[in-house]
């Protein structure tokens, strides 16, 4: 795909993330089906009775705080770990060694041989997935170009590459064998805004080719804009699962997005507001049950210069914090 069309797609995708599931063709079979999976380490339940279906062709966001069980889940998908109980199916077949050749995997902790030449390294990883060396070598230049890595780096050692470039290299290593499913653990972390844009473009392009993408991330904004489905994990349990639109609709519209100038410290404790996320110039106010937004607007307008006042569904970020906090209290 030419870079221009990637850019167009990005612009079109902005802001309409929640509704993208409409254009995804309905599929009967899930790309990944996790059924009642439990995994414990030495008395600690990492994943507890988890069931999850990732539809073919979707961009699926796996969310959760540290220790939620995301990495363990991904490792089980890759058959690096086996579940204690439950079943995992990849593309309709058990998650065995042959299934994982159809998956590309980028772990959270990047792993490249530091002293190996970039090209040799990429060829080696593709070979590990059963791709002939010549094919892998032929595909490399196009991928380097798409991710904006100059050709001169092809014959350099990995430890000479910048961190961002290493991350892009890791991404190429996970897609060079042309997998049907791509599992990416924190794909955007550590990327500067330009590189993150390039990465997002590459992910969208793959999605449009019909690949299934499963991302795990802390970056709610990325997930909200990119993914059509999300699941939220905490302490090994699933708290939420559904399309981004459904998840947000089930929580709103009960949020006010407020852009303002002035001293907003009084917003804390304002009657009718149950939760506040204040950024200084911008605040997200969760309305208490039965509160009237008009009264809040009047109260705010009398104290601040209001630049924008909008009644919205809550952001994924807010839903995430709320759900995890509530789950934490229930567990305690």
């Amino acid at each position: 795909m030419a870079p221009a069309s990637v850019t167009r797609l990005l612009q079109a995708g902005e802001g309409c993330g929640p509704d993208r599931d409409i254009i995804i063709p309905a599929v009967s079979e899930a790309a990944i089906a996790i059924t009642a999976v439990t995994k414990a380490y030495a008395g600690h339940l990492a994943v507890n009775n988890l069931s999850l279906a990732v539809p073919r062709g979707s961009i699926f966001g796996l969310l959760g705080p540290n220790g939620a069980g995301k990495t363990t889940t991904l490792r089980m998908l890759m058959n690096v770990l086996g579940p204690d109980s439950g079943t995992i199916e990849i593309l309709g077949r058990p998650a065995d060694d042959s299934a994982r050749d159809r998956i590309g995997y980028m772990p959270e902790e990047r792993g490249l041989y530091p002293r190996m030449l970039l090209e040799d390294q990429l060829v080696f990883f593709a070979e590990m997935k059963g791709t002939p060396r010549v094919d892998a070598r032929r595909r490399i230049p196009a991928w380097l170009e798409r991710l904006g890595i100059e050709d001169k780096w092809r014959r350099r050692r990995v430890n000479e590459l910048s961190k961002g470039m290493q991350q892009k290299a890791q991404f190429i290593a996970s897609v060079l064998h042309d997998p049907e499913i791509l599992i990416l653990d924190e794909p955007m972390s550590g990327l500067d805004p330009v590189a993150a844009d390039v990465m997002r473009g590459a992910l969208l392009a793959l999605s449009r080719q019909g690949k299934t993408l499963l991302l795990s991330s802390h970056q709610m904004e990325t997930v909200e804009r990119l993914c059509d489905r999300v699941a939220l994990l905490d302490r090994g349990e699933k708290l939420l699962d559904g399309t981004v639109g459904d998840v947000k609709r089930s929580h709103g519209p009960n949020t006010v997005a407020l852009a303002y100038e002035g001293d907003g410290s009084f917003l804390e404790g304002l009657p009718g507001v149950s939760r506040l996320t204040d950024h200084g110039q911008f605040a997200e106010l969760r309305l208490a049950a039965g509160a009237d937004p008009q009264e809040i607007l009047r109260a705010v307008a009398s104290r601040l210069r209001v630049r924008r006042f909008e009644i919205l569904e809550p952001s994924l970020h807010d839903i995430f914090i709320e759900q995890v906090t509530r789950h934490g209290r229930a567990a305690a």
């Binding site: 690096v80 994982r100 995997y105 792993g111 041989y113 190996m116 890791q170």
Partner: protein
Amino acid sequence: MRLFAIVRREYLERVRGRAFLIGTLLGPLLMAAFTIGPSALMAKQRGKPLRVAVLDASGTLRAGVEKALSERRIAGEPRFIVEPPGEGALEVVRASLTAAVLSGRIDGYLHLPPDALARGAAEYYGKNVSNVMDLGLLDKTVEDALTSFRLSGAGLPEARVQEVMRRLELKTIRISETGEREDEGGSFLLSMILLMTLYTTVAMWGGALMNSVIEEKTSRVVEVMLSSISASRLFAGKLLGVGAVGLTQLLVWAGFMAGLSLLGAQAAAVSGVKLPEIPLLVLVLFVVFFLLGYFLYGALYAAVGASVNSQQEAHSLAFPILMPLILAVMFFPMVLSSPDSKLSTVLSLVPFWTPLLMFLRVSALMPPAWQVGLSIALTLATTFALNWVAARIYRVGILMYGKRPTLREILKWIGKP
């Protein structure tokens, strides 16, 4: 196919590396320096001749003993410088000699008691009495002198005495299927060099395997690898890949040695030591025992590498692996002096020692074929068992981060499903 890719990567990345080049080129030089060096130094740097005086209480022996001492030569150089004891009463002379020893004017003095000839007894007084080589020579020289006195005393003419006392020059000739060769200590030296080479390469490439495992673990590459290939195949690939590098190095050295023996004459002139020829069978067995040692100890090194989080943590765990190897090197003089004794046979059949000690026996005196065969079979069985255990430890260990596991925890991993 993928196993081969891992072997190839492991092999090429190492063989292309600078460390391999330097190690392969400098290895033989260092080996030569460490093994030949000390003995050559000892031979060349015998130290200054010993300054000795003879304190004769018998009154008749001094001249003869002094003459024998000053005529004693090693490699054409006199070994003893005879100093006059001084005049006076016996006790006075003794006191002055003691003072001379303490002040360092002489190295020591020999006291011949009145009945030295009858009893065959004498005493040496010196500051340094640990120079066993020189004292042995002194002992022998004085003994010869006293024997000459007894022969003369028995009425033998002077010329006959000299004839009777002629010293023996023993040459050692090694008999092998290829013929007879004079040996000036070369066999001993060769056995030692080959043994040290085995010891070094087994420990070095085992260590390299351990570092390779640690590197993959700390750089987190292992997680990417495990999403493509099973842990046991990754383990096998690494073991074979690093082993192939070690084998390559040995083959380079073997070629180097073959070249050296072609230039045998020059080499002998340079080193001053005639290296005995190495039978082909010994060379083949050298490679076999290297491989056995590498795979046996490599399994242990890989297991340690998978259990730790860093090179630093690895050191304390890796040292116990070296212990059997070090013990084998310590048994070396004993086994070499009696290669076919019962003890040597038993020691060389213990799998952990077979790679070094059985090879040592092979290089010194070929043991019966059944012993060599049995030792190889036992070591192979042990190697397979250890690799099975190591692969199971590896499988769990490479995904464990955080605190260093205890030995107990590591052993528990073996039984994990």
